[in-house]
């Protein structure tokens, strides 16, 4: 149980920071692609008999760089590229699992997460990845803001746009790996979007948004964890449902708060 709490907090930190970029830069779909493609690594881990999360790390970073480079350097539409990586990664995972000897019992926990089963070794990996994410974002905060807000202007003032974009995709890949144990590859996208989307309703300062979405993520995960325990439900799915419901609540709260006040209309 203590491992579960620690895993929840570590996951919330990663998705709190990176989810903000995913939401404001509107790269939800590519994040989904990275998450699903990482399943290829889970499968290969089973086949080779090594920790699936480690191999998933390799797969998610590779597919992030692959999708980023192919969509920027070729004329293929980005969503086509994402769709291909998404499905091929998943398919590889299924083939690898099929080739593995014996019964892949805890495969389900990689797909949909099981926060109650996080071993200490994975906890250490999550901690390291969190540290990498936090340090890189601290150093490159200004650049990430520039490429998220206005890429073209960034190019003009000398921001290394492509390098920063690829770095950001790699950080998303790391976040995916942090979240695999908690909500699984299929539900990762919920934790990358919902806490940040909730935070975005209450602040327009990116740093505050990161703190707020981390906090929101912790609340979501702990509530979900408690509910799944009380009701004997799957933890990953319960966390996502709780997040979705609380997102609706925050949306309603926000609407009440701003009622009667003029809201800026897009021209």
């Amino acid at each position: 149980m203590r491992n579960a709490l620690a895993a929840g907090v570590l996951a919330a930190i990663a998705c709190g920071i990176i989810g903000v970029y995913v939401v404001v830069k509107k790269i939800v779909f590519i994040s989904g692609g990275i998450a699903h493609a990482s399943f290829g690594g889970i499968g290969l881990g089973f086949l080779l008999g090594v920790n699936p999360v480690l191999v998933a790390l390799f797969f998610s970073v590779t597919s992030a760089l692959g999708m980023g480079l192919v969509s920027r350097r070729t004329r293929l539409p980005q969503d086509t590229v994402i769709g291909i990586f998404w499905a091929v990664g998943m398919a590889l995972g299924i083939i690898f699992v099929g080739l593995s000897p014996g019964y892949a019992g805890d495969l389900f926990s990689y797909l949909f997460g099981n926060i109650l089963l996080v071993p200490t070794s994975d906890l250490i990996l999550m901690l390291v990845l969190d540290a990498v994410i936090a340090v890189v974002v601290f150093l490159l905060y200004k650049g990430f803001l520039a490429i998220s807000f206005d890429e073209e202007f960034g190019v003009v003032v000398g921001v290394p746009v492509e390098a920063l974009y690829l770095t950001l995709l790699c950080l998303i890949a790391l976040t995916v790996v942090v979240l695999i144990r908690v909500v699984g590859v299929i539900l990762v996208i919920a934790m990358l979007t919902i806490p940040a989307a909730v935070a975005k309703q209450f602040t327009y300062d990116l740093k505050k948004m990161m703190f707020l979405s981390t906090l929101t993520g912790i609340i979501f995960i702990l509530c979900g964890l408690w509910l799944s325990y009380e009701l004997d439900l799957a933890s990953g799915a319960t966390i996502v449902i709780v997040s979705g419901v609380l997102f609706l609540v925050s949306l309603g709260f926000r609407t009440l708060m701003t009622r009667g006040r003029p809201v800026a209309q897009p021209p």
């Binding site: 404001v24 509107k26 150093l139 490159l140 200004k142 650049g143 803001l145 520039a146 998220s148 807000f149 206005d150 073209e152 202007f153 960034g154 190019v155 003009v156 003032v157 000398g158 921001v159 290394p160 975005k200 602040t203 327009y204 300062d205 990116l206 948004m209 800026a264 897009p266 021209p267």
Partner: protein, 251 residues
């Protein structure tokens, strides 16, 4: 009259697949120029600015910016893109938008210094938007946003200011104020303004060029009806409200 040449375009062609957007464009922009480039939508105005900035590589021809390549010297250009390019809902304050203009001076990892912040506030003061510095960019009106984007371009102390359709979505009284602002800036940098709105542009700029795939540059703002007709391929009356010469000459 012969002052320093800042930008030089020589026989620029830009082709997308088989259609040519720019056909043999020659242009020279000198120190202290305030040039208006007018032309119909789809005539290649934005493409021309992006060629100057090195964002689009011409199919043939040579671009020189401050005697170097655009890629190397575009940091001396302040660029105000056509509005509506960024997400109005983006969580960022006016001051942080302006600070982005200082990026080239600060570099990848370093933080913005007090000087950078001072420069941002000064730029906001120039465009009379200092009171709005803590507001979210999307909360401002179109005209106010445009001023902030100009402040972002000014904050790097550019030698040249490029503006792409800066008055789109700005209401008439604000437009007048906006052109007065530019008239105040033209003594400290050269300005190139691109627009399809000929009447507004012609009052304030010193020189006019007409662009419709080809560039008709006259070095003076008195543009005869023949040039306008060649540019727009339609009768002049329809563009300048029936009295083209009065509109162009009186100011």
């Amino acid at each position: 009259m012969d002052s320093e040449e800042l930008i030089r375009l020589e026989d620029i062609w830009v082709r997308y697949d088989s259609t040519a957007v720019l056909e043999g464009v020659n242009l020279s922009i000198r120190h202290d120029d305030f040039l208006g480039i007018i032309g119909p939508n789809g005539g290649g105005k934005t493409t021309l600015l992006k060629v100057i900035l090195g964002l689009i590589k011409p199919s043939s021809g040579k671009v020189t910016v401050l005697s170097g390549t655009p890629q190397r010297n575009r940091r001396f250009i302040g660029y105000v893109a056509q509005s509506s390019l960024f997400d109005r809902d983006f969580p960022i304050s006016v001051q942080d938008v302006v600070l982005m203009g200082r990026y080239g001076k600060v570099g990848l990892v370093k933080r913005f210094t007090r000087d950078d912040k001072k420069a941002a506030l000064k730029a906001l003061e120039t465009v009379e938007m200092l009171d709005y510095k803590d507001k979210q960019i999307g909360r401002l009106s179109g005209g106010e946003q445009q001023r902030v984007l100009i402040a972002r371009a000014l904050v790097a102390e550019p030698k040249i200011l490029l503006l792409d359709e800066p008055t789109t979505g700005v209401d008439m009284p604000m437009q007048t104020e906006f052109y007065e602002l530019l008239a105040g800036l033209k003594h400290s940098m050269s300005i190139v303004l691109v627009s399809h709105d000929i009447s507004a542009v012609s009052i304030y700029v010193d020189k006019i060029a007409c662009l419709n795939h080809q560039l008709y540059y006259h070095g003076s703002k008195e543009v005869g009806p023949d040039v306008l007709e060649a540019t727009y391929k339609c009768p002049v009356q329809m563009i300048a409200h029936g009295i083209p010469h009065r509109v162009l000459k009186e100011h």
